[in-house]
């Protein structure tokens, strides 16, 4: 039989860096921390891993609780395990980065949890090492968006190229050339135009595009 019993055990939490995109701004979902230490401070959404629960399962459970969403896109970032990272007790946190279509999340859930979408730029101080988690997640997102279809996770099903470009610009933190951008997009197999026209954003109307995931 096993004999691990002489080794210490730890609380293990999952924290989620949930990105959304709204009105031209990249947002991250936070809430007011509901217990000490750090009661009332701004915090990423997270929770403790349960017995008999995989890390990713825990992340999905927590996301469901806070946003009402199943089937979100998520990816593990790293484990944060500094002894003093949580001033209350030793907690080792596994961090996931999560992309959701902000229009789809359940507003009720968010209100229930005192949740709030904050701009990723000029983010206020969050509790513990959560700012560091966001920083790292944002960096990974910046790398992923260039050559994977992750942008589709942050947008509604149909979107204009201008919307997509603005999303890229807000993630990369720089402006990009319209013609170069549109050529690059036209070469991606996973984005294609539809017959639909968006008449809200301009007088002329803009072609709506969509991602095709297999």
């Amino acid at each position: 039989m096993t004999s691990y019993s002489s080794y210490p055990q730890f609380f293990v939490s999952v924290d989620c860096v949930v990105f959304g995109y709204h009105e031209g701004k990249l947002k991250v979902l936070t809430h007011q921390r509901p217990y000490e230490p750090g009661l009332g401070e701004k915090s990423l959404i997270g929770g403790f891993v349960q017995k008999e629960e995989n890390l990713e399962t825990a992340a999905r459970r927590i996301l469901k609780e806070f946003t009402g969403l199943d089937n979100v896109y998520l990816q593990q970032l790293a484990a944060f395990g500094e002894v003093e990272r949580d001033p209350g007790e030793r907690v080792i946190s596994v961090v996931y980065y999560v992309l959701i279509d902000i229009a789809k999340y359940d507003e009720q859930q968010v209100i229930l949890h005192n949740a709030e979408w904050l701009n990723v730029d000029n983010l206020p101080t969050l509790c513990f090492d959560h700012n560091e988690m966001v920083e790292k997640a944002r960096q990974v997102l910046g790398e992923d968006i260039k050559d994977t279809p992750v942008a589709g996770k942050l947008l509604p099903r149909y979107f204009t190229l201008t919307q997509l470009q603005m999303l890229h610009e807000s993630i990369l933190g720089m402006s990009v050339d319209k013609r170069n951008f549109r050529r690059a997009i036209s070469e991606k197999a996973y984005i294609h135009s539809t017959n639909l026209i968006d008449k809200d954003s301009s007088r002329r109307g803009a072609t709506l595009y969509e991602f095709s995931f297999e």
Copy 2:
């Protein structure tokens, strides 16, 4: 005060994918697992995190025990937390990838621990999810070697360009063009030639190079 006490706690281990390079082959350090479950199976080196010990500190302690080396290059890869990954008890493992100069490690330590360097290509089955860990580490190493000075961590202080090229080839799993490779190296600020000549590898003698880390 905190009130995490109603949440479960977990054993947390650190596993290290220790890469070395010897005689043209990329190697990974393994040993015979000293306890059940999996007693005697091939395993990455690892151990349990202690109270009051950071994750990285734990990794360094374990590396010191197994190789006698301080100050190695390491980087966190990911957390592995599947419920059934360790058939004995629930253990969440944080994995580090580690690069060492194989000539420097303490042979005594390795013998003491029944350790063994295995070729990364054609790796036999390791216990639990350790093959998956190696796979992932190797992938990251392949990305890092192209534009960071990590190769220097795997080589002795002085090396010939042919040695360096063979190292790249074994990590990338493909052959590279000698002239292109040497031009690329000459453009890296962190590699430079010395006045030393290696006379062992050829009759003509080859210039020895070194990495300059800040």
